[in-house]
Amino acid sequence: MSILVLVEHSQGIFKKKSLEAVQYAAGIAKAMGTSVSAVAVGNVSDSEMQTLGAYGAQKVLHTTDGRLDNFNSRAYAKVVVAAAQKESSKVIIGLHDTTGKAVMPRVAARLQAGLVAGAVGYPDLSKGFVVKKNVFSGKAFAYVNISSDIKVLSLMPNTFPVVKGDGTASVEKLEVALTDKDFSVQVKEVSKASGDVPLSEAELVVSGGRGLKGPENWYVLEALAKELGAATACSRPVADAHWRPHGEHVGQTGGTIRPNLYIAIGISGAIQHLAGVNGSKTIVVINKDPEAPFFKAADYGVLGDAMEIVPRLTEAVKKYKANQG
Protein backbone atom coordinates (compact mmCIF):
# COMPACT_ATOMS: atom_id res chain seq x y z
CA MET A 1 0.00 0.00 0.00
CA SER A 2 3.02 2.28 0.15
CA ILE A 3 3.24 5.47 -1.86
CA LEU A 4 5.60 4.99 -4.77
CA VAL A 5 7.90 7.70 -6.07
CA LEU A 6 10.14 7.59 -9.14
CA VAL A 7 13.46 9.25 -8.38
CA GLU A 8 15.91 10.60 -10.93
CA HIS A 9 19.63 10.97 -10.60
CA SER A 10 22.43 12.54 -12.52
CA GLN A 11 25.54 10.33 -12.57
CA GLY A 12 24.51 8.51 -9.44
CA ILE A 13 23.51 11.55 -7.38
CA PHE A 14 19.82 12.15 -6.80
CA LYS A 15 18.50 15.40 -8.18
CA LYS A 16 17.20 17.91 -5.72
CA LYS A 17 13.75 17.86 -7.31
CA SER A 18 13.63 14.13 -6.68
CA LEU A 19 14.37 14.68 -2.99
CA GLU A 20 11.50 17.14 -3.10
CA ALA A 21 9.27 14.45 -4.65
CA VAL A 22 10.25 11.95 -1.94
CA GLN A 23 9.44 14.50 0.73
CA TYR A 24 6.11 15.21 -0.99
CA ALA A 25 5.35 11.50 -1.07
CA ALA A 26 6.19 11.29 2.63
CA GLY A 27 3.68 14.05 3.39
CA ILE A 28 0.97 12.13 1.52
CA ALA A 29 1.99 8.86 3.16
CA LYS A 30 1.64 10.44 6.58
CA ALA A 31 -1.86 11.69 5.80
CA MET A 32 -2.84 8.27 4.50
CA GLY A 33 -1.12 6.30 7.25
CA THR A 34 1.32 4.47 5.05
CA SER A 35 4.99 4.49 4.02
CA VAL A 36 7.06 5.60 1.02
CA SER A 37 8.93 3.40 -1.43
CA ALA A 38 11.16 4.99 -4.03
CA VAL A 39 12.10 3.39 -7.31
CA ALA A 40 15.51 4.18 -8.80
CA VAL A 41 16.86 3.13 -12.16
CA GLY A 42 20.46 2.64 -13.25
CA ASN A 43 23.80 3.19 -11.64
CA VAL A 44 23.36 4.50 -8.08
CA SER A 45 25.35 3.35 -5.04
CA ASP A 46 23.56 1.73 -2.11
CA SER A 47 24.75 4.49 0.21
CA GLU A 48 23.26 7.17 -2.04
CA MET A 49 19.98 5.26 -2.08
CA GLN A 50 19.93 5.02 1.69
CA THR A 51 20.10 8.82 1.91
CA LEU A 52 16.53 8.97 0.56
CA GLY A 53 15.57 7.93 4.10
CA ALA A 54 16.44 11.43 5.23
CA TYR A 55 13.63 12.75 3.03
CA GLY A 56 11.03 10.21 4.10
CA ALA A 57 11.51 7.02 2.07
CA GLN A 58 11.50 3.71 3.98
CA LYS A 59 12.53 1.60 1.04
CA VAL A 60 14.25 2.01 -2.32
CA LEU A 61 13.61 -0.45 -5.12
CA HIS A 62 16.54 -0.55 -7.47
CA THR A 63 16.51 -1.74 -11.06
CA THR A 64 19.81 -2.07 -12.83
CA ASP A 65 19.81 -2.95 -16.47
CA GLY A 66 22.54 -1.41 -18.59
CA ARG A 67 19.98 -0.64 -21.26
CA LEU A 68 18.21 1.75 -18.88
CA ASP A 69 21.18 4.10 -18.79
CA ASN A 70 19.57 5.91 -21.68
CA PHE A 71 16.18 7.28 -20.84
CA ASN A 72 13.32 5.52 -22.54
CA SER A 73 9.71 6.19 -21.60
CA ARG A 74 8.41 2.75 -22.43
CA ALA A 75 11.01 0.88 -20.38
CA TYR A 76 10.87 3.34 -17.48
CA ALA A 77 7.09 3.10 -17.35
CA LYS A 78 7.35 -0.69 -17.15
CA VAL A 79 9.75 -0.39 -14.22
CA VAL A 80 7.43 1.99 -12.38
CA VAL A 81 4.41 -0.24 -13.01
CA ALA A 82 6.33 -3.31 -11.79
CA ALA A 83 7.35 -1.46 -8.62
CA ALA A 84 3.81 -0.21 -8.07
CA GLN A 85 2.46 -3.73 -8.39
CA LYS A 86 5.07 -5.12 -6.04
CA GLU A 87 4.23 -2.49 -3.42
CA SER A 88 0.48 -2.53 -4.14
CA SER A 89 0.80 1.25 -4.45
CA LYS A 90 -2.37 3.27 -4.82
CA VAL A 91 -0.55 6.58 -5.23
CA ILE A 92 2.35 6.91 -7.67
CA ILE A 93 4.44 10.06 -7.91
CA GLY A 94 6.89 11.39 -10.43
CA LEU A 95 8.14 14.81 -11.43
CA HIS A 96 6.60 17.19 -13.95
CA ASP A 97 9.81 17.41 -15.96
CA THR A 98 10.79 15.96 -19.34
CA THR A 99 11.31 12.54 -17.75
CA GLY A 100 8.10 12.48 -15.72
CA LYS A 101 6.01 13.98 -18.51
CA ALA A 102 6.93 11.04 -20.72
CA VAL A 103 6.75 8.30 -18.07
CA MET A 104 3.85 9.14 -15.75
CA PRO A 105 1.15 9.38 -18.47
CA ARG A 106 2.26 5.94 -19.69
CA VAL A 107 2.06 4.57 -16.16
CA ALA A 108 -1.37 6.12 -15.68
CA ALA A 109 -2.67 4.76 -19.00
CA ARG A 110 -1.32 1.30 -18.27
CA LEU A 111 -2.92 1.17 -14.82
CA GLN A 112 -6.08 3.04 -15.89
CA ALA A 113 -5.29 5.54 -13.20
CA GLY A 114 -6.28 9.19 -13.13
CA LEU A 115 -3.37 11.60 -13.54
CA VAL A 116 -2.81 15.11 -12.27
CA ALA A 117 0.13 16.48 -14.23
CA GLY A 118 1.98 19.34 -12.55
CA ALA A 119 0.66 19.13 -9.00
CA VAL A 120 1.51 22.16 -6.83
CA GLY A 121 -0.13 21.08 -3.57
CA TYR A 122 -0.83 18.13 -1.32
CA PRO A 123 -3.98 16.14 -2.09
CA ASP A 124 -7.02 17.15 -0.06
CA LEU A 125 -8.30 13.82 1.21
CA SER A 126 -11.34 15.27 2.91
CA LYS A 127 -13.10 15.73 -0.43
CA GLY A 128 -11.89 12.64 -2.25
CA PHE A 129 -8.42 13.08 -3.72
CA VAL A 130 -8.25 16.69 -4.83
CA VAL A 131 -4.98 18.10 -6.12
CA LYS A 132 -4.11 21.67 -7.06
CA LYS A 133 -2.36 22.36 -10.35
CA ASN A 134 -1.51 25.30 -12.61
CA VAL A 135 -3.76 25.94 -15.58
CA PHE A 136 -3.84 28.58 -18.33
CA SER A 137 -0.04 28.89 -18.28
CA GLY A 138 0.12 29.91 -14.65
CA LYS A 139 -2.74 32.41 -14.89
CA ALA A 140 -4.98 30.27 -12.65
CA PHE A 141 -5.14 27.10 -10.57
CA ALA A 142 -7.49 24.15 -10.87
CA TYR A 143 -8.44 21.65 -8.21
CA VAL A 144 -8.68 18.23 -9.78
CA ASN A 145 -10.29 15.21 -8.18
CA ILE A 146 -9.01 11.78 -9.14
CA SER A 147 -11.74 9.18 -8.99
CA SER A 148 -9.89 6.01 -9.98
CA ASP A 149 -8.58 3.54 -7.42
CA ILE A 150 -4.96 4.24 -8.32
CA LYS A 151 -3.78 7.85 -8.51
CA VAL A 152 -0.81 9.19 -10.44
CA LEU A 153 0.70 12.61 -9.76
CA SER A 154 3.59 14.50 -11.27
CA LEU A 155 4.92 17.17 -8.96
CA MET A 156 5.96 20.56 -10.32
CA PRO A 157 9.64 20.98 -9.37
CA ASN A 158 10.47 23.83 -6.95
CA THR A 159 7.05 23.73 -5.31
CA PHE A 160 8.24 22.99 -1.78
CA PRO A 161 11.48 23.78 0.03
CA VAL A 162 13.46 20.61 0.65
CA VAL A 163 14.26 19.87 4.28
CA LYS A 164 16.64 17.11 5.23
CA GLY A 165 15.71 14.98 8.22
CA ASP A 166 17.36 11.81 9.39
CA GLY A 167 16.68 8.16 8.75
CA THR A 168 17.99 5.75 6.20
CA ALA A 169 16.12 3.72 3.66
CA SER A 170 16.54 0.01 3.01
CA VAL A 171 17.49 -1.03 -0.50
CA GLU A 172 15.95 -3.90 -2.45
CA LYS A 173 16.58 -5.17 -5.94
CA LEU A 174 13.69 -4.97 -8.36
CA GLU A 175 13.82 -7.33 -11.31
CA VAL A 176 11.76 -6.22 -14.28
CA ALA A 177 11.32 -8.28 -17.42
CA LEU A 178 12.21 -5.88 -20.23
CA THR A 179 12.25 -6.85 -23.87
CA ASP A 180 14.14 -5.55 -26.89
CA LYS A 181 10.97 -3.81 -27.97
CA ASP A 182 11.18 -1.65 -24.84
CA PHE A 183 14.49 -0.33 -26.10
CA SER A 184 13.65 0.09 -29.76
CA VAL A 185 14.45 3.81 -29.68
CA GLN A 186 18.09 4.23 -30.63
CA VAL A 187 20.13 6.93 -29.00
CA LYS A 188 22.42 8.53 -31.55
CA GLU A 189 23.80 11.38 -29.55
CA VAL A 190 23.37 12.89 -26.10
CA SER A 191 24.51 16.36 -25.18
CA LYS A 192 24.08 17.33 -21.58
CA ALA A 193 24.29 20.96 -20.63
CA SER A 194 27.42 20.57 -18.54
CA GLY A 195 27.73 22.10 -15.12
CA ASP A 196 25.23 24.89 -15.49
CA VAL A 197 21.78 24.49 -14.02
CA PRO A 198 19.31 23.88 -16.83
CA LEU A 199 16.97 26.83 -17.25
CA SER A 200 13.83 24.77 -16.65
CA GLU A 201 15.06 23.81 -13.20
CA ALA A 202 16.86 26.95 -12.13
CA GLU A 203 15.72 28.61 -8.92
CA LEU A 204 17.16 31.96 -9.96
CA VAL A 205 16.91 33.33 -13.49
CA VAL A 206 18.26 36.53 -15.00
CA SER A 207 16.60 37.38 -18.31
CA GLY A 208 17.20 40.03 -20.95
CA GLY A 209 15.11 41.63 -23.67
CA ARG A 210 15.50 43.98 -26.59
CA GLY A 211 16.18 46.80 -24.13
CA LEU A 212 19.75 45.51 -23.85
CA LYS A 213 20.23 46.71 -27.45
CA GLY A 214 22.58 43.99 -28.67
CA PRO A 215 24.52 40.83 -27.83
CA GLU A 216 27.60 42.89 -27.01
CA ASN A 217 25.83 44.17 -23.89
CA TRP A 218 24.96 40.77 -22.49
CA TYR A 219 28.10 40.72 -20.36
CA VAL A 220 26.35 42.87 -17.73
CA LEU A 221 23.56 40.35 -17.44
CA GLU A 222 25.97 37.42 -17.40
CA ALA A 223 28.01 38.98 -14.63
CA LEU A 224 24.89 39.32 -12.49
CA ALA A 225 23.82 35.76 -13.25
CA LYS A 226 27.26 34.48 -12.34
CA GLU A 227 27.30 36.36 -9.07
CA LEU A 228 23.85 34.98 -8.16
CA GLY A 229 24.47 31.49 -9.51
CA ALA A 230 21.48 32.04 -11.77
CA ALA A 231 20.55 30.66 -15.19
CA THR A 232 20.07 33.09 -18.08
CA ALA A 233 16.99 33.52 -20.25
CA CYS A 234 15.72 35.98 -22.87
CA SER A 235 12.64 37.25 -24.68
CA ARG A 236 11.66 35.92 -28.06
CA PRO A 237 12.88 38.78 -30.29
CA VAL A 238 16.29 38.40 -28.68
CA ALA A 239 16.46 34.74 -29.65
CA ASP A 240 14.96 35.44 -33.08
CA ALA A 241 17.72 37.98 -33.72
CA HIS A 242 20.27 35.33 -32.68
CA TRP A 243 21.61 37.49 -29.87
CA ARG A 244 21.06 34.50 -27.62
CA PRO A 245 20.53 30.75 -28.20
CA HIS A 246 16.93 29.61 -28.78
CA GLY A 247 17.00 27.39 -25.71
CA GLU A 248 16.97 30.55 -23.58
CA HIS A 249 13.76 31.95 -25.02
CA VAL A 250 10.91 31.88 -22.52
CA GLY A 251 7.25 32.62 -23.01
CA GLN A 252 4.26 31.15 -24.66
CA THR A 253 6.25 29.80 -27.58
CA GLY A 254 9.42 29.12 -25.64
CA GLY A 255 10.06 27.55 -22.28
CA THR A 256 7.84 27.89 -19.23
CA ILE A 257 9.79 28.46 -16.04
CA ARG A 258 8.82 28.85 -12.41
CA PRO A 259 11.92 29.97 -10.58
CA ASN A 260 11.94 31.52 -7.13
CA LEU A 261 13.39 34.70 -8.59
CA TYR A 262 13.02 36.09 -12.12
CA ILE A 263 14.91 39.27 -12.93
CA ALA A 264 13.66 40.82 -16.19
CA ILE A 265 16.03 43.33 -17.72
CA GLY A 266 14.88 45.48 -20.63
CA ILE A 267 11.84 43.32 -21.30
CA SER A 268 8.53 45.09 -21.89
CA GLY A 269 6.35 42.35 -20.39
CA ALA A 270 4.14 41.37 -23.33
CA ILE A 271 1.45 38.87 -22.40
CA GLN A 272 3.13 36.13 -24.45
CA HIS A 273 6.31 36.65 -22.49
CA LEU A 274 4.49 36.67 -19.16
CA ALA A 275 2.82 33.37 -20.04
CA GLY A 276 6.18 31.67 -19.62
CA VAL A 277 7.29 33.35 -16.42
CA ASN A 278 4.33 34.43 -14.34
CA GLY A 279 4.57 31.32 -12.23
CA SER A 280 7.81 32.77 -10.76
CA LYS A 281 7.62 33.38 -7.02
CA THR A 282 9.28 36.79 -7.10
CA ILE A 283 9.71 39.04 -10.13
CA VAL A 284 12.12 41.96 -10.36
CA VAL A 285 11.76 44.28 -13.34
CA ILE A 286 14.45 46.66 -14.50
CA ASN A 287 13.19 48.96 -17.24
CA LYS A 288 13.68 52.57 -18.28
CA ASP A 289 10.02 53.06 -19.21
CA PRO A 290 7.71 53.65 -16.21
CA GLU A 291 4.80 52.54 -18.42
CA ALA A 292 6.33 49.15 -19.24
CA PRO A 293 3.56 46.59 -18.65
CA PHE A 294 5.97 44.29 -16.85
CA PHE A 295 5.90 46.55 -13.78
CA LYS A 296 2.28 45.48 -13.22
CA ALA A 297 3.38 41.86 -12.86
CA ALA A 298 6.43 42.66 -10.76
CA ASP A 299 7.12 42.47 -7.04
CA TYR A 300 10.05 44.86 -7.20
CA GLY A 301 10.77 47.42 -9.86
CA VAL A 302 13.77 49.56 -10.70
CA LEU A 303 13.34 52.42 -13.14
CA GLY A 304 16.33 53.41 -15.23
CA ASP A 305 19.00 52.37 -17.68
CA ALA A 306 19.87 48.70 -17.43
CA MET A 307 23.50 49.32 -18.40
CA GLU A 308 23.92 51.36 -15.22
CA ILE A 309 21.63 49.49 -12.84
CA VAL A 310 22.63 45.92 -13.53
CA PRO A 311 26.36 46.38 -12.71
CA ARG A 312 25.28 48.18 -9.54
CA LEU A 313 23.05 45.27 -8.59
CA THR A 314 25.88 42.83 -9.29
CA GLU A 315 28.11 44.80 -6.92
CA ALA A 316 25.39 44.80 -4.27
CA VAL A 317 25.01 41.02 -4.55
CA LYS A 318 28.77 40.63 -4.25
CA LYS A 319 28.80 42.75 -1.13
CA TYR A 320 25.88 40.85 0.35
CA LYS A 321 27.57 37.53 -0.27
CA ALA A 322 30.79 38.75 1.31
CA ASN A 323 28.86 39.78 4.43
CA GLN A 324 27.18 36.39 4.60
CA GLY A 325 30.69 34.94 4.86
Binding site: S73, K101, P105, N134, S184, K188, L204, L261, G301, A316
Partner: protein, 247 residues
Protein backbone atom coordinates in the same frame (compact mmCIF):
# COMPACT_ATOMS: atom_id res chain seq x y z
CA UNK B 1 3.13 7.06 -44.31
CA UNK B 2 -0.16 8.23 -42.82
CA UNK B 3 0.07 11.00 -40.24
CA UNK B 4 -2.46 11.89 -37.57
CA UNK B 5 -2.14 15.34 -36.00
CA UNK B 6 -3.84 15.95 -32.64
CA UNK B 7 -5.42 19.38 -32.49
CA UNK B 8 -6.73 20.91 -29.33
CA UNK B 9 -8.74 24.10 -29.05
CA UNK B 10 -7.62 26.62 -26.41
CA UNK B 11 -8.48 30.19 -25.41
CA UNK B 12 -6.48 32.84 -27.23
CA UNK B 13 -3.27 33.62 -25.33
CA UNK B 14 -4.42 37.16 -24.64
CA UNK B 15 -7.87 36.08 -23.40
CA UNK B 16 -8.93 37.18 -19.98
CA UNK B 17 -9.11 34.16 -17.72
CA UNK B 18 -12.20 34.17 -15.50
CA UNK B 19 -14.57 31.64 -14.00
CA UNK B 20 -18.30 31.31 -13.40
CA UNK B 21 -20.70 29.12 -11.44
CA UNK B 22 -18.97 29.72 -8.18
CA UNK B 23 -15.53 29.15 -9.74
CA UNK B 24 -16.36 25.75 -11.12
CA UNK B 25 -16.47 26.56 -14.83
CA UNK B 26 -14.32 28.52 -17.27
CA UNK B 27 -16.04 31.70 -18.41
CA UNK B 28 -15.90 31.60 -22.20
CA UNK B 29 -17.91 34.83 -22.62
CA UNK B 30 -16.14 36.91 -25.21
CA UNK B 31 -13.20 34.51 -25.40
CA UNK B 32 -11.77 33.73 -28.83
CA UNK B 33 -10.62 30.16 -29.27
CA UNK B 34 -7.55 29.23 -31.28
CA UNK B 35 -5.66 26.11 -32.27
CA UNK B 36 -3.23 25.24 -29.50
CA UNK B 37 -0.03 26.97 -30.75
CA UNK B 38 2.20 23.89 -30.42
CA UNK B 39 -0.27 21.85 -32.44
CA UNK B 40 -0.65 24.48 -35.14
CA UNK B 41 2.80 25.93 -35.57
CA UNK B 42 4.84 22.81 -35.09
CA UNK B 43 2.92 19.51 -35.31
CA UNK B 44 0.57 20.45 -38.12
CA UNK B 45 3.05 22.44 -40.21
CA UNK B 46 5.68 19.69 -39.99
CA UNK B 47 3.08 17.11 -41.04
CA UNK B 48 2.22 19.25 -44.06
CA UNK B 49 5.89 19.64 -44.95
CA UNK B 50 6.31 15.87 -44.82
CA UNK B 51 3.41 15.47 -47.19
CA UNK B 52 4.73 18.14 -49.55
CA UNK B 53 8.10 16.43 -49.66
CA UNK B 54 6.45 13.12 -50.52
CA UNK B 55 7.37 11.40 -47.26
CA UNK B 56 3.74 11.29 -46.14
CA UNK B 57 0.75 10.17 -48.20
CA UNK B 58 -2.01 11.54 -45.97
CA UNK B 59 -2.40 14.01 -43.12
CA UNK B 60 -5.48 13.67 -40.93
CA UNK B 61 -6.40 15.98 -38.08
CA UNK B 62 -8.20 14.84 -34.97
CA UNK B 63 -9.80 16.74 -32.16
CA UNK B 64 -11.75 15.54 -29.16
CA UNK B 65 -14.42 18.12 -28.58
CA UNK B 66 -18.04 19.10 -28.97
CA UNK B 67 -19.54 20.85 -32.01
CA UNK B 68 -18.28 24.24 -30.78
CA UNK B 69 -14.72 23.16 -31.66
CA UNK B 70 -15.53 22.87 -35.37
CA UNK B 71 -14.51 26.42 -36.36
CA UNK B 72 -11.07 25.77 -34.92
CA UNK B 73 -10.63 22.45 -36.69
CA UNK B 74 -11.75 24.13 -39.94
CA UNK B 75 -9.06 26.74 -39.35
CA UNK B 76 -6.56 23.93 -39.04
CA UNK B 77 -7.83 22.41 -42.29
CA UNK B 78 -7.31 25.78 -43.97
CA UNK B 79 -3.58 25.36 -43.33
CA UNK B 80 -3.70 21.95 -44.99
CA UNK B 81 -4.47 18.32 -44.33
CA UNK B 82 -6.77 15.93 -46.11
CA UNK B 83 -9.53 15.36 -43.62
CA UNK B 84 -10.50 16.08 -40.06
CA UNK B 85 -12.07 13.91 -37.42
CA UNK B 86 -13.95 15.24 -34.45
CA UNK B 87 -14.65 12.80 -31.66
CA UNK B 88 -17.83 14.09 -30.11
CA UNK B 89 -16.77 14.18 -26.46
CA UNK B 90 -15.86 16.89 -24.04
CA UNK B 91 -13.35 16.32 -21.29
CA UNK B 92 -10.34 17.79 -19.56
CA UNK B 93 -9.29 14.36 -18.37
CA UNK B 94 -6.11 13.46 -20.23
CA UNK B 95 -6.92 9.76 -20.01
CA UNK B 96 -10.34 10.06 -21.61
CA UNK B 97 -9.03 12.36 -24.36
CA UNK B 98 -6.14 9.97 -25.05
CA UNK B 99 -8.42 6.96 -25.06
CA UNK B 100 -10.62 8.59 -27.72
CA UNK B 101 -7.65 9.43 -29.92
CA UNK B 102 -6.11 5.98 -29.48
CA UNK B 103 -9.37 4.12 -30.15
CA UNK B 104 -9.89 6.00 -33.39
CA UNK B 105 -6.26 5.71 -34.47
CA UNK B 106 -6.23 1.95 -33.89
CA UNK B 107 -8.62 1.27 -36.71
CA UNK B 108 -6.93 3.60 -39.17
CA UNK B 109 -3.34 2.41 -39.25
CA UNK B 110 -1.53 5.70 -38.76
CA UNK B 111 2.24 5.45 -38.88
CA UNK B 112 2.99 8.71 -37.14
CA UNK B 113 0.95 10.58 -34.54
CA UNK B 114 2.01 14.18 -33.91
CA UNK B 115 0.83 16.33 -31.05
CA UNK B 116 1.94 19.47 -29.26
CA UNK B 117 4.14 19.44 -26.17
CA UNK B 118 1.24 20.69 -24.08
CA UNK B 119 -2.10 22.39 -24.38
CA UNK B 120 -1.81 25.95 -23.11
CA UNK B 121 -5.09 25.72 -21.17
CA UNK B 122 -4.82 22.63 -19.01
CA UNK B 123 -1.07 22.28 -19.40
CA UNK B 124 -0.89 18.57 -18.79
CA UNK B 125 1.62 17.68 -21.44
CA UNK B 126 0.27 14.15 -21.05
CA UNK B 127 -1.86 13.25 -24.04
CA UNK B 128 0.99 12.27 -26.40
CA UNK B 129 2.60 9.79 -24.03
CA UNK B 130 -0.77 8.35 -23.02
CA UNK B 131 -1.79 7.83 -26.62
CA UNK B 132 1.55 6.10 -27.21
CA UNK B 133 0.96 3.76 -24.28
CA UNK B 134 -2.59 2.97 -25.37
CA UNK B 135 -1.35 2.22 -28.90
CA UNK B 136 1.69 0.35 -27.59
CA UNK B 137 3.97 2.67 -29.55
CA UNK B 138 7.20 4.45 -28.80
CA UNK B 139 6.92 8.05 -27.67
CA UNK B 140 9.45 10.79 -28.21
CA UNK B 141 8.55 13.93 -26.33
CA UNK B 142 9.54 17.62 -26.52
CA UNK B 143 10.99 17.27 -29.98
CA UNK B 144 12.76 20.18 -31.72
CA UNK B 145 13.44 18.52 -35.06
CA UNK B 146 11.92 15.67 -37.08
CA UNK B 147 13.37 13.98 -40.15
CA UNK B 148 11.92 10.97 -41.91
CA UNK B 149 13.84 8.65 -44.24
CA UNK B 150 11.83 5.63 -45.38
CA UNK B 151 10.42 4.12 -42.21
CA UNK B 152 13.06 5.59 -39.92
CA UNK B 153 12.38 8.77 -38.00
CA UNK B 154 15.22 10.80 -36.56
CA UNK B 155 14.45 13.41 -33.94
CA UNK B 156 16.31 15.79 -31.70
CA UNK B 157 14.57 16.39 -28.44
CA UNK B 158 14.84 17.88 -25.01
CA UNK B 159 15.72 15.51 -22.21
CA UNK B 160 16.25 16.35 -18.57
CA UNK B 161 19.30 18.57 -18.52
CA UNK B 162 20.21 18.36 -22.19
CA UNK B 163 19.41 17.22 -25.70
CA UNK B 164 19.30 13.87 -27.39
CA UNK B 165 19.17 12.64 -30.97
CA UNK B 166 17.19 9.45 -31.51
CA UNK B 167 16.33 7.17 -34.37
CA UNK B 168 13.20 5.07 -34.25
CA UNK B 169 11.18 2.97 -36.65
CA UNK B 170 7.56 3.84 -37.38
CA UNK B 171 4.96 3.70 -35.88
CA UNK B 172 5.61 6.38 -33.34
CA UNK B 173 4.06 9.22 -31.34
CA UNK B 174 5.92 12.54 -31.15
CA UNK B 175 5.17 15.67 -29.15
CA UNK B 176 6.41 18.84 -30.83
CA UNK B 177 7.81 22.12 -29.58
CA UNK B 178 9.52 25.15 -31.12
CA UNK B 179 12.07 24.34 -33.79
CA UNK B 180 10.07 21.57 -35.48
CA UNK B 181 8.71 23.95 -38.14
CA UNK B 182 8.02 27.60 -38.90
CA UNK B 183 4.48 28.86 -38.36
CA UNK B 184 2.42 29.40 -41.50
CA UNK B 185 -0.47 31.71 -42.24
CA UNK B 186 -3.47 30.22 -44.03
CA UNK B 187 -4.13 31.70 -47.47
CA UNK B 188 -7.42 32.30 -49.26
CA UNK B 189 -7.10 29.15 -51.32
CA UNK B 190 -6.60 27.08 -48.19
CA UNK B 191 -9.57 28.69 -46.51
CA UNK B 192 -11.79 27.99 -49.51
CA UNK B 193 -10.53 24.43 -49.83
CA UNK B 194 -11.12 23.76 -46.14
CA UNK B 195 -14.84 24.34 -46.62
CA UNK B 196 -15.19 21.30 -48.81
CA UNK B 197 -12.81 19.01 -46.97
CA UNK B 198 -14.45 16.17 -45.03
CA UNK B 199 -15.00 16.71 -41.32
CA UNK B 200 -16.00 13.38 -39.86
CA UNK B 201 -17.89 13.36 -36.59
CA UNK B 202 -17.33 10.17 -34.65
CA UNK B 203 -19.21 9.00 -31.58
CA UNK B 204 -16.94 8.57 -28.58
CA UNK B 205 -15.69 5.14 -27.55
CA UNK B 206 -16.91 3.83 -24.22
CA UNK B 207 -14.86 5.03 -21.29
CA UNK B 208 -15.09 7.25 -18.26
CA UNK B 209 -13.05 10.22 -17.10
CA UNK B 210 -10.69 9.31 -14.27
CA UNK B 211 -10.32 12.89 -13.10
CA UNK B 212 -12.40 16.04 -13.12
CA UNK B 213 -11.88 19.67 -12.22
CA UNK B 214 -13.90 20.53 -9.13
CA UNK B 215 -12.91 24.18 -8.76
CA UNK B 216 -10.74 26.97 -10.15
CA UNK B 217 -8.89 29.67 -8.32
CA UNK B 218 -7.15 32.85 -9.41
CA UNK B 219 -3.70 33.39 -7.93
CA UNK B 220 -3.60 36.07 -5.23
CA UNK B 221 -3.30 39.45 -6.90
CA UNK B 222 0.20 40.92 -6.77
CA UNK B 223 0.17 43.38 -3.94
CA UNK B 224 1.58 45.95 -6.34
CA UNK B 225 5.12 46.62 -7.38
CA UNK B 226 7.52 48.06 -4.85
CA UNK B 227 9.75 50.58 -6.64
CA UNK B 228 13.37 50.67 -5.52
CA UNK B 229 15.64 53.66 -6.01
CA UNK B 230 18.00 52.92 -8.91
CA UNK B 231 20.90 54.23 -6.84
CA UNK B 232 20.17 51.86 -3.98
CA UNK B 233 20.67 48.30 -5.17
CA UNK B 234 21.77 47.26 -1.66
CA UNK B 235 18.16 47.82 -0.65
CA UNK B 236 16.90 45.55 -3.42
CA UNK B 237 19.29 42.80 -2.35
CA UNK B 238 18.23 43.24 1.27
CA UNK B 239 14.54 42.87 0.33
CA UNK B 240 15.21 39.85 -1.86
CA UNK B 241 16.89 38.26 1.11
CA UNK B 242 14.78 39.25 4.08
CA UNK B 243 11.36 39.96 2.59
CA UNK B 244 11.02 37.77 -0.52
CA UNK B 245 13.43 35.17 0.93
CA UNK B 246 14.64 34.12 -2.50
CA UNK B 247 18.37 34.66 -2.02
Amino acid sequence: MKILVCISQVPDTTAKIAFTDNNTAFNNQGVTFIINPYDEWYALVRALELKESGAATAVHLITVGKADTEPVIRKALALGGDEAIRIDADSNDPYLVSLQIAEYAKSQGYDLVLCGKESIDYNSGSVGAMVAELLDMNFLGFVYKIDVAGTTVTVTREIDGGEETNACELPLVISCQKGVAEARIPNMRGIMAARTKPLKVVAPAAGAALSNIVAYEMPPAKSGVKMIDAENMDELVRLLHSEAKVI
